[in-house]
Amino acid sequence: MKHTIAHNLLYFIGAALVWSSCNSFLGEDTNIDPNRTSDAPLNTLAPTIMFYSAEATQKASVVVNSYVQHIGSVTAAGLDAQNRSTFAATWDDIYLNILPNANEIIKKATATNSPHYAGIAKVVLAYNLGLGTSLWENIPYSEADNQLTNLQPAYDPQESIYNAILRLLDEAIEALNSPTTVFKPGADDIVYKGDIAKWRKAAYSLKARYLLHLARKRGTGTYAEILDALSKGISSNSEDFQLIYNDRNLSRWHQVALANNTGNFTTNFSATFINLMNGTLQGVVDPRLPLHAFKTVAADSIYYGMRPGAATGSNVRYNNGTAFFGWQFALTAPLQMITYSECKFIEAEARMLQNGGSPTPEAYAAYQEGIRANMLKIGVSTTDISAFLSHPNIDVGAGNLTLSHVITEKYKALFLNPEAWNDLRRYDYRSDILPGLALPENHNPDLGGQWIQRGHYPDSEAARNADNVARNTKDLTAKMWIFE
């Protein structure tokens, strides 16, 4: 008995000592998380960057489209009063969720000779750099996602960002032109379902968009480049660069509308947008209006939006609490990044600017096609489209087309698309370009009566990358390089 106990005790002690000396007890797989992977294949990263592009866009547009008076805050002196925003959520999506995964795709695709994946990643990356620079001007890229070689990445000047965008798009086009690719995007491509031709078109269309921004810097020769890119770009609504959500993954705009049902009102239509639709400014009611907005007072004959910055004066909602959802707020609504309709307006503007600002028949056709495309997309009947397009205030005739007509219709088609801010800033927020545009009530006193031109860098950057923030921070009313 005594012996057995002593023996057992020794055995325990011995086992414990052997256990501890054995390296496998502490090493090898012990400190590797079994619930995460150190390697994600291409087809799991591609949907990620597409998803986050849509997310980043929506998070930006909550603010941007308040600045441009598509929508406004339901509390007075909100974002539509042009209060500062840091666009922190968009920043984080770009730098944490898109850039690292896109770079990972490019690296893996290059290693496995799968240029189609590399091409897609570069299109997405170029788009997001375009989104980012439109919010903050100078942003990190050349030193971003740097494997921790530098904990305070420098911000590249906007000009370099635009160069990077164009370079990425050219490289994307080349990669997407490649006849062979080892790994092929398919169902994992949640935007185009593996249709590489559409990605190539999206790349050309984005190139046209960013060249249009640059045209004033690069000179009039740029318009030919734009038209050339457009000719290879998106050529129908079915080729739009957009993401369609589903009932498992709700689109953020749908969530905004649903939140209205739980008392969490955040934003509503702005009068500036509604007045361009309800006949006030154009003398013709836009048939898209009842598809966008719900009129809360049935007896009212006219839709009213909220006075910018005032949070009052509206009889509209995004949804009615039951069946009706405004087109952009429906469960199945796409989150649009660049569309056929926008391309037609780019064409109309480029052709006019190429012609010294004067209309051309091609510009006029593009203007009409831009309107028609957007109306078809939203579900306006062909009868209503014809009626609207033939209204004298819209069908002004090829010779009478002005940039204001183009930008106004583009502004309507770009509802909730942050690209609208670039247009307004390119034209200095001129109300002779966009009728009805005026500084909001309760206008942010820091702006001294000037229009807002940019976002602030996120607080996280101010805390963690302070020197670069200090070097690049400008007044909210200071124009970006691209708009100078």
């Binding site: 740097n146 589903n246 993954n249 739980t262 969490n264």
Partner: protein, 1012 residues
Amino acid sequence: MKQRFILLVLVLMGWNAWAQNLTVTGKVTSAEDGSPLVGATVVVKGANLAAFTDAEGNFRITNAPADGILVVNYTGFERKEVPINGQSVVELALSPSNVLQEVVITSFGIAREKKVLGYGSQSLSSENLLQSNQTNLVNALQGKVAGVVINSSAGAPGAGASINIRGINSLSGENDNQPLIVVDGIIISNATDVGNVLPSAGSNAVNSNEQFMNSNRLADLNMDDIESVNVLKGAAATALYGQRAANGALIITTKKGREGRTSVNYNFSYGIEDIDKAPRIQRTYYQGFNGLVRTPPATVFWQYGPPALESDVFYDHFREFYVTGKNMNHSLSFSGGNANSTFQSSFSYLNSDGIVVNSNFKRATARLAATHRMNKRLTVGAQINYNNNEQTAPPSGDKSVFSSLWFWSPSFDVNDYLNPDGSQKNPFAGIIDNPRYMAERSPQVSKLNRIFGDINLNYDITPWLKARYQLTADYYNDQRNRIVGPDLDLGTQVGGFIVEQSIEFRELNSNFFLMGHRPITQDLNLHFTLGNAITEIKSDLLGVRGERFIAAGFFNIRNATNYFPLRGGSLRRLVGVFGEARFEFKDFLFLTFTGRNDWSSTLPEQNRSYFYPSASLSYVLTNHLLPENRVLSYLKLRGSWATVGKDAPPYRIGNYFSPVPGFPFGTVGGFTRDNNVGNFNLQPEFTQETEVGVEANLLNNFMSIEANYFVRESRNQILSVPISTATGYSSYTTNAGVITNRGVELLLGLNPIRGPFRWSIDFNWTRIRGKVTEMPPDLRTITYVSALGGRAVLRIEEGGNVGDLYGYDWRRHENGQPIIGANGLPTLETAQYVKVGNALPEWLGGMNNTFSYKGFTFNVLLEMRHGGDVVDLGENNAIRNGTIWFTEERDMVVRWKGVNADGTPNETTTILNQDTYRAFGINAHYSYVIQDASWFRVRNATLSYRLPKSLIGNRLSHVQIGITGRNLFLSTPFRGYDPEALAFGSGTNLIGFTGRNTPITRSFTLNVSVGF
């Protein structure tokens, strides 16, 4: 020389065998009045034979050497040594001692005389802990221990409570800085498991930990099983435990069986609890908006209607929502033993209904602990504890019972919550839920099974050398279920959801020690310990969230459309080797050195091994330079210095890819690179602590004093340092930053009245300041929490203190005055935060009074917390909706004190109205958001009566009845409910927020205890 040494060892080892042995029995009594002393220890000197005296003061020792010496110890009495001289019956009468020679249980259950310790620790007896009638040990420590800050998370039954010893030592808000919990040498988990209870869309909550006030696992212990708790505060005290006890340790000793008669104890308690402090509702204005009553279909939600009429009914929902809670506890224990074996077994059952309907905590525990002396040298012990809990917790935090309650209009009865068809009755449908309906329908139910226990072997190798081996295990499984119907706000976006989670935890420890003592010279003795500890901790979470119910009303995981898997877990292993050497010079100088080397699985291989030492000195002056005298009966000075190394949490090295939250997108899955990356050269972090203290006893026990001062510096912290997200990561796990905690702990004991009527007082006082002495390079701030849309922020900055709260101030003119705008109101400066408070108290004090006379004992514990600011997360809702009393100030013309933009005094007036309260202005200014939450309270008062022996006869050993009142009085400038309830649950450093969880209660408990 060598041969002589071996001979010496043989002689010492064989000494026992040569002596003649006999059985000694006897009785230990008090020399003062001849009454038996129960539970005194009788030891045969040098022979490792011991016995406790039974209820009659009798003891029995077998195999005692005829020429041995009996040493008798009893707390409060002089130690006595009596030679056996071959007698088989020895009577021992002890005289009361002037000085309490306390014995405390230190690391690994090693008992030490307090005088030898070079560090501070504080011991609490069972009696002391049971005074407050708490069911959670952490709460039972409230107000009694210096150097300790305790926070409850809520007044809900089973809600977690957190304990911090000597400050918050981490720069991270999510870190758990709580002490190690050891029960009879068994390390048990005190985790607060949060899990993941949020839907994929529709919640504003940043994390799950404010959604339910989950139990901390120390709540599983049956309080009646606890004999004593020793709080080891500093790094020197916990040096042997090393990193696991870097934040201190609670050394819990349970009740043991003793040789002699089998005793049976039964305790019963029944208590009621009620809402204590509640904010006042606003009764001057009726429901409505812009001064007009609203009737559906217009939205009725705000309390900004016309002045109330005599006939208008108001419901005080801040109180009326709550019901009377009831709780009942049965606990039965058996213990006994003979010369060779002892056992203790207990069963308990607690059933507690909270003050929120449908909130409940049930706990059943069972336990068996036994020891058996196999032979003269070998003793085996084992214990097993089983728990079965069920916690039904009300939703708290964002979109919860409580956030809705704050919004609710007092013009409607919150308890009228059902329509005739059984659906939710809610005048504010589409805005908030009816809180009563939500409490009834949407709690989280957690069902826990837990087993912990050990097997231990003690072997006396020689009279001066002992070996001990202990294998311990702690295992639990927590099955959680949360249901949110599509008719609740939180469920509307996703069509309702259900979360099922299984949380599993397992910890194994293997500890081996050698303990011995040897004289070096006549005056110098060496006591030493060598040990090895091996630890494995494994946790797992497996769960699934189902969204969009298909069949209405069938809330089952199988009835969902979209499924989201939840999976997590970790494994951590640690091997340690440690030693302690204590040199005792005569009986006044005690010098202890320790060293420990750990090998951790969570650090890179090259940095896996790390060593850390400690040294401490105790000098008892009254045994040396200043002999005991009438004024000074005891004086001890002590000092210690210790370093503790610490490893990283598991899996913090390198980088991973995880599934995108919410994916698959439709049917397409995706991964994203994690935002955290870990340094491949991660080093262990080190905490260094220096402590000095004094212990004194004056005027023949009239007064005892203990004072400590400590400086604790945690440097090279393993920290997820926030970095510029432009790097592609949001945080980088590396070594950075320094936090320095400095503190003073004072204990003062007084015995103003002695004799048949006794009055004793224990004071404790604590002041701790945690300073951020060094931030990670190039980092200005680390934000722990940003709450209420940025209105209140808990964050740290270099040079600041841990717990600093920041808020918005008015835009101010150069002359310091607020700038008043054209509307007559000041505007907020939102571009920068100002530091406006600190969530940690400036000091804490407790005063525990005990009065006793014959069988009566009256105990009252007063507690004070000075300073400590708190943000009421709920009140903001009430301000915006005009439901709280101070929004009555409306329709009045005021001229705001301030200046115009040019600095001239403001002349513009404004009318206080709903816009004033609703707009992002007043309700966002720090003076409204951040409140002083100092308090003074009568924590508990207990009156008990122990029936005299003459009344209960011989069958019963004791009968005691008592009544306890808790939180009988509270005085605080804080406007809301009792500010003690922490919004973010236990188990984090996220302090300073309250208001969206079950308020702390006031309770009365009747207690009956019978012993056979």
